[in-house]
Amino acid sequence: MAGVRFENITCRYGNHVVLKNFSLEVKESEIMGIVGPSGCGKTTLMRALCGFMKPETGNIYLDNRLVYSASKRVNIAPELRGIGVVFQDYAVWPHLSVWDNVCYPLKRHKVPKAEMEKRAAHALEQVHMTGYEKHLPSQLSGGQQQRVAIARALVSSDELIVLDEPITNLDAKLREEMLAEIQRIQKDIGTTIIYITHDQAAALRLCDNIAVMAPDGHICQIGVDEDIIRRPADRFVFTFVGVSNFIPVICRSGKVFTENGEYPVDTALSDMQEGGRYDLGVRPMDIVFDEKSELKVTIKSVTFLGDQYDYFVDFNGQELRIECNALDALSHRVYEEGEKIGVKFLNVRYYPREEGTAS
């Protein structure tokens, strides 16, 4: 039930600036996903929020109270921020049993014994770890330790829980169940949840809002899942949230042509510059076969994946990937290697060409 606001924070390790003038707002009781590639500074952000590291500049507000400010020299101790955390490396204490690990935050908050036992047992049940109370972490698998870490975070705060890659070691079924559990907690209790991951699929599935971070630590886009998928703000977000094809194109007299083959692909958008070079981004799902189209591709290989066909095709000397729903494919026909057929690009996005990024 606590909102979070980062204002212009800058974090660095030695000379390595990880976050620069970073701002982000998380509303009360929402699930905010923070996704970004490895090393972009997600854990660093979490550490700044929890008070484990001091940003050089900026302010952090928790529920509208200032918990950190570089200029006003405010730095509230981590234990007084009331944030539940699942650490990326679990940080389950090896010398304490599962039960003692989960009870620790409740003891620290001086919860009466009866309530403590009830809540700890409930948390273990939520993560499907009932029956392991007496085990030491060394006797648990990685995924089990991870679930103990989640249970511990659940009992340590009702206000705000930060989960840093909380389900990397779980199998597909358990992942689903954990995500459902997290969603339920947010619905029932209204806990604000910050969910850090590089698995954009889980984030899309779970989160109300998603912030996508670039490798250099700045936020490229914040939005609901549909925004991120349908309207990626830039080339990085586009590649990050799914498999992507990029085709170098050029804008001439209101039309978009492929750069080398001179095929007209599309009519130009209003904000495109005459003579400008762009990358046309298109998802494999959004390339459809159309016998009548002038844009021809040559099939190089086909793979059947159960519910879809994966094609690798040659377009103008460039390899593209096409995914075709199995049902659609069967309604016309499955193309074979060496065939030359027309295609259409749907839902294309144009991104200004950056030097050295042409595919």
Binding site: M1, R47, C50, G51, F52, K54, R65, L66, K72, R73, V74, N75, I76, A77, P78, E79, L80, R81, G82, I83, G84, V85, F87, Q88, D89, A91, V92, W93, P94, H95, Y104, P105, R108, H109, K110, V111, A149, R152, S156, S157, D158, E159
Partner: protein, 575 residues
């Protein structure tokens, strides 16, 4: 349900970072102050009294001391002994390590136990025992040689530079042995095997593959021997005085006693100490330079079972040789000390008729000096062990986790005593704690305790810092986010996690402190003799049989304590 996150917030809103005096800062300051007082000041005082007189720089004393012929001689003796002990000890250590670690020699288990024995005992016990056997005039073996071969003088004489080297080797070769056996046991056997398969001969494989692989372990062990023997007092102290052979540590001791602890004597001792420090530092630099050549990562962390080399025909001769050496370095001195402890008077033939229990009885029940010395040693080792354990953890915590601006200074200060010989530290401690700074501990047991803290703190610090490095920061952070204060996270998480290292750190100090001689021999007063000092002075005052009896009892005590420690540490591993 949200009440506990808000509780105390108002109070903490005032805890602005600048004004807030965090636990980390307090710990850092305490560490700096303590290390400054117990390590830096004594060392600095040695330089101060040597080079400053009447408030002015004065190198007169130092140049005089290093120009003195006797002192130069002592310096050469020190270097000779150290080099000799290092060379021979290293060869012995590598030989036995190879025999136990890589060959198919039988009775390895028994040999391993035997090698632990010289590791446990202070070398000056050995010196005492060998003096009983090989003293030029009165040694039992020498008397037997003279009688048997009808020669005037035995060619063997333990009261010589070679004698000193020999005894030090017996006690220092396990440094190399232990390191190298460990490396052999962790060596990747496929390296040797593939060379053999490629057609290389056994000798070639040993020279070109095996030895280079264990080179880092050999040099680490050799360095330990070198620095230990440069700083060593006990053996030359037992064997050298009667033949007027001095090394720098014994020269310092002799100077101190000749001048009966007067300030001039201490000043001269300080100047000599600086010379000794210079020699040790030169050795350390030389070693850094020699070891610069790459280190190998082919030694794995996991224990593997390397292919053992078949000795074939060489098996029996090597086995016999190994047992002869073990008999000479382990059994003979031990037996000698125990037996002489039973003699009515030193010099009598060792026969049953000349035996008595009086010495043991006297030592155990009638000698208050001895009883006090045992009590003092136990008190000193336990208190030094406990205090160093906590101090060591604190310093290690500040260096590893807090990492303040001057962390490197802190680390250097805590490791400085490694390069400072015990006898030098004793001089520094005398200079610091004899009233110059309003505290006079001279002639009390407390001055020995202070010296032990300075000497041994680095042991527990190293042990704690290795273990703290294994404690990932997120473990402590998790406790904080669960509502623990900084102190709470230390108490509940960090300290329990490094407890095994703390216990190990305690014993790393307790055991050597129990048998310590070098430092206390300069610091003891009438009522603060240690076990080592009691044996040393009994023997030097001519009570040789009593001294032997006490040494035998000390051996028993050390064996018992050692097995208790081993049992505790083994339990820990199993648990």
């Amino acid at each position: 349900m949200s009440q506990y996150t808000r509780k105390g917030v108002n109070k903490d809103m005032a805890a602005l970072d600048g004004k807030h005096f965090g636990l980390d800062k307090v710990l850092t300051i305490i560490c700096f102050v303590i290390l400054f007082i117990i390590v830096f000041v004594p060392v600095a005082m040695i330089f101060y009294v040597t080079f400053i007189s009447d408030g002015k720089l004065d190198t007169h004393l130092f140049t005089e001391v290093i120009a003195d012929k006797g002192n130069i001689g002592a310096m050469w003796n020190t270097i000779k002994v150290a080099l000799g002990a290092t060379l021979i000890g290293t060869v012995m250590g590598v030989f036995f390590a190879w025999l136990v670690g890589r060959s198919d020699i039988p009775t390895k288990g028994f040999m391993k136990v035997m090698f632990d024995i010289p590791y446990m005992f202070p070398p000056f016990f050995g010196a005492m025992a060998w003096d009983l056997m090989l003293n030029r005039r009165s040694g039992y073996i020498n008397k037997w040689i003279v009688a048997t071969f009808g020669i005037k003088r035995s060619p063997l004489n333990i009261n010589s530079v070679w004698g000193i080297i020999f005894v030090e080797c017996c006690y220092y070769f396990p440094f190399v042995y232990k390191q190298v056996v460990n490396a052999f046991e962790r060596m990747d056997p496929t390296l040797e095997e593939s060379a053999r398969i490629a057609g290389a001969s056994q000798g070639y494989v040993i020279r070109k593959i095996t030895l280079p692989l264990v080179k880092p372990a050999i040099s680490a062990g050799a360095l330990l021997i070198l620095t230990s023997s440069l700083a060593h007092f006990g053996v030359p102290g037992m064997l050298g005085f009667s033949a007027k052979i001095y090394t720098l540590p014994t020269k310092i001791y002799q100077l101190f006693y000749r001048t009966t602890g007067s300030f001039e004597g201490i000043r001269e001792g300080s100047a000599l100490s600086i010379l000794l420090i210079l020699v040790v530092v030169a050795a350390l630099i030389l070693q850094k330079y020699l070891l610069r050549a790459g280190s190998y990562d082919i030694i794995k962390g996991k224990a593997t079972r390397p292919m053992l080399i078949k000795l074939r025909g060489a098996k029996v001769p090597l086995l016999i040789l190994a047992y002869i050496i073990l008999f000479i370095i382990v059994v003979m001195p031990l037996a000698m000390i125990i037996l002489v402890g039973f003699l009515k008077a030193y010099g009598l033939p060792i026969t049953l008729a000349n035996m008595t229990l009086d010495n043991y009885k006297q030592v155990l029940f009638n000698n208050t000096m001895v009883a006090d010395s045992i009590k003092n040693s136990i008190f000193l080792s336990i208190s030094a062990g406990i205090i160093c354990m906590f101090l060591g953890v604190m310093v290690a915590y500040v260096i590893v986790k807090v990492k303040p601006k001057g962390a490197i200074v802190l680390e250097l200060l805590s490791l400085l005593p490694y390069a400072i010989p015990g006898i030098v530290m004793a001089i520094g401690v005398i200079l610091t704690w004899s009233g110059r700074f309003k505290v006079n501990l001279y002639n009390t047991i407390w001055i020995i305790l202070v010296a032990y803290l300075a000497r041994y703190l680095s042991f527990s610090m190293k042990s704690a810092s290795a273990s703290l490095q294994q404690v990932h920061p997120s473990l402590e952070e998790a406790a904080r986010s669960c509502g623990a204060s900084h102190f709470g996270s230390l108490k509940d998480i960090t300290i329990p996690l490094i407890k095994p290292a703390m216990v190990a750190g305690f014993f790393l100090i307790f055991l050597p402190a129990m048998r310590e001689l070098t430092t206390s021999v300069l610091l003891y007063g009438p009522n603060s003799r240690t076990l080592g000092v009691a044996i040393f002075s009994l023997r030097n005052d001519g009570y040789i049989t009593t001294a032997s009896a006490l040494a035998a009892i000390a051996i028993l005590l050390i064996v018992i304590l050692n097995s208790i420690v081993n049992a505790i540490l083994k339990d820990r591993k199993k648990g």
